[in-house]
Amino acid sequence: MDRLNVKEQEHLTQVLEAKQLKEYLNMYSTLTQNCFSDCVQDFTSSKLSNKESECIAKCADKFLKHSERVGQRFAEFNAKYMGQ
C-alpha cells in the first residue's frame, strides 16, 4: 500500500472508512446471532428471562474482548511475518 500516491491514499481512506462501518455492522450482527444462539434455548415465553439477558450481555462483552485480543496478536504476528 506504500505504492499509492497521495490522491490514491485519500480515495482509499474513504473506501476503508465505508468498509470499517460495514465490518462493524457485520461484527455486531454476528455477535447478536451467536450470543442469541448460545444463550436462548427456551421458547415457552416471548420475552427474554433475566438469566438470558445477562448471558447475552456477558457473551457480547466477552466476544468483544476476545476480538480485541485476537486483533492485538494479529497485528503483532502480522508485523513479525511481514518482516521475515
Partner: protein, 89 residues
C-alpha cells in the same frame, strides 16, 4: 443556487444518499437472513414429516423472533454505553 434550479436540483442523484439507503437495506436483509437461519435451527425439527409448520413450530417462531428483537435492542443499547465508556481511539 439557480433561480430555476431548485426543483431540478432536487432531482439529481446524490450517490451518497443512494449508498446510505443501500447500506440500510443491506443491513436489514442481513439481519433478516440471520434471523431466518437462527430461528430455523431453534424451532424446526429436521425430521420433515410434513410440509406445513406444526402448531408448536409456529408458536416457537413467533417467540423466537420476539426474543431476537429484544436481544438485538438490548445489545444495541449495551454497545452504545460501552462505546461511550471506552471511546475508540
Amino acid at each position: 443556487m439557480s433561480m430555476f434550479g431548485i426543483g431540478k436540483n432536487n432531482q439529481t442523484i446524490n450517490p451518497q444518499n443512494i449508498a446510505m439507503a443501500e447500506q440500510e437495506v443491506e443491513m436489514m436483509s442481513d439481519i433478516f437472513n440471520r434471523l431466518v437461519m437462527t430461528c430455523h435451527k431453534k424451532c424446526i425439527s429436521p425430521k420433515y414429516y410434513e410440509a406445513d409448520l406444526t402448531k408448536g413450530e409456529s408458536v416457537c417462531i413467533d417467540r423466537c423472533v420476539s426474543k431476537y428483537f429484544e436481544a438485538n435492542q438490548s445489545l444495541s443499547q449495551h454497545m452504545q454505553k460501552r462505546g461511550q465508556e471506552n471511546p475508540t481511539p
